[in-house]
Symmetry: C2
Subunit: 311 residues, 2 copies
């Protein structure tokens, strides 16, 4: 167990417009997404994953990603992030002017083949090509390698820590600026999270910078608390806890943004987020996604009497 | 932050038959409670809070507590626990032959007056009378003082740590064998939990032995993980996450037994619990409590592929 104090400032990256909406069959109209983006920005979110540059025939829900990015770039101080599955997507991302791109890699070979149609090492090779494309375009866009199924996989079962660490290092060696660890299918527990993030930090330092947790089995926030104790200061989250993975059955439910913001605020960790504004946005999004399974807990109980909204 | 390793063995005390059912308006028939008790025992629970010796006009839902205890005492190896609000209840508990009794004290004066019609120090005085009654009866029943609203209160707001620690010590001085800390209304966060349990442990050692958390705002299991890091090895939980407090609006939802058992198993902490049996019992209880708000997450996703049921 670590002896570090908790961080005093944490960045929450809203990934609902990408991880959330890709797991929902219906396509949200662009106007609603723009309103969501605006609401998230007004609630204090300063890093938002806008969408994904995948072919529209695979994910029609995210076909308007370029249009959303163009809008997002007008919001002062917002870090505009986008997911790219391959070099082709990365080229579109570079052209879009977004600030950062996340290349997902699945540490589970089975999940990697099902989800990305590549082995993990083929994704590492793609990372090198993406880095070269970025550099030759003269772009300063940040390239993050996201190591998914880092805590286990619904298809393969166990995923070895040594393999996760090897792939994390390989992504950095291939030219990624940063790496993150994702519990794509909600298999992680806090002891495991603390162990793997500590090892990862020991290996690559602060270049391991972000944790992405799903609440599939109720451990999402416990896992965040574990990672915080390793000094991790960036977390992905989805408003209303939507999200999942089409190739990981039963994997629905990212950590909900509003619950995460509440936990961090309660521990006096600064996020710049206005929780009541997040709860208001959640209510709005719930009307757009009527009939979909939403998650999260805080919205039912509201803020405690002891907590004052300050943002 | 502590440097202790996590405990290797943890006791989960099922409190659904007491904390759960007292917060639900309907009265579950005794036959259903007996089936619940039997199912919980068969799932490996070896400490169960059976009910509460309060006047039946106040909590008709728990009027059959003595009958349930008589049955529970026949289950080999089961620690039969019961809640007692005062000396009169304690006398009934001693006569019942149960193994342990929990005397609730509310560290919030406002909540104490609303819930128990006594100040916290009047409850301490009652603890001394209960201890005297137990000793003069020649009983070896264990007396636990449960310090509730230890992390804040819906009525009073903030509850000072110094006051919680003072009352904890006072309960022990008055003759309690053990004390526990309860987040009655779901205001606690993991940093606060870790801080208060560490201070409590420093003050009274292992006589502070149990944590009781509500998941009102989604932090129940994160709080358990925090307390585990302080060496706490006993936790209360309710099957299906039912429970709450009639005098604490919006406070519904104990940590769910099945989710807690899953988190502990996942971290290789031995509880002796059979999670699939707990999930089966949850399904049964859900039919009896149709229409009531149930909680918990694991039941939707089931056990991960990486987890083998061993109990």
């Amino acid at each position: 167990m670590p002896t570090n104090p908790l961080p005093t400032v944490v960045t929450v990256r809203e990934v609902g417009l990408r991880d959330g909406l890709q797991s929902i069959a219906r396509t949200l109209p662009t106007a609603h997404k723009l309103a969501w983006l605006q609401g998230a920005y007004e609630a204090g979110l300063r890093e938002i994953e806008i969408g994904s540059f995948v072919p529209a025939r695979l994910l029609p829900q995210l076909a308007d990603t370029a249009e959303l990015i163009a809008h997002a770039l007008k919001l002062p101080g917002l870090v505009v992030s986008v997911l790219v599955p391959n070099l082709r997507g990365a080229e579109a991302a570079i052209a879009s002017g977004a600030h950062s791109m996340v290349l997902p890699l699945s540490a589970s070979h089975a999940h990697s083949l099902a989800n990305l149609r590549k082995t993990p090492d083929e994704v590492v090779a793609e990372a090198a090509r993406i880095r070269a494309a970025r550099d030759s375009a003269g772009s300063s866009m940040l390239l993050e390698g996201g190591v998914g199924t880092a805590f286990g996989c619904t298809l393969q079962g166990e995923v070895k820590e040594s393999e996760v660490l090897r792939l994390m290092q390989a992504l950095l060696d291939a030219g990624c600026d940063r790496v993150s660890l994702a519990d794509t299918v909600g298999y992680g527990d806090p002891a495991q999270v603390q162990r793997l993030f500590e090892k990862g930090r020991a290996l690559v330092g602060e270049r391991l910078w972000c944790g992405h947790f799903h609440d599939t089995r109720g451990l999402g926030l416990a896992n965040v608390y574990a990672a915080l104790q390793c000094g991790i200061t960036r977390f992905d989250a989805c408003l209303a806890g939507i999200g999942g993975c089409p190739h990981a059955p039963g994997a629905s439910g990212n950590v909900s943004t509003e619950d995460l913001a509440y936990m961090l605020r309660s521990m006096k960790i600064d996020t710049g987020l206005n929780i009541n504004a997040l709860l208001g946005l959640r209510q709005q999004v719930a009307t757009w996604l009527e009939g979909e399974a939403l998650h999260g807990t805080l919205w039912q109980a509201g803020l405690p009497k002891t907590m004052k909204e300050t943002a």
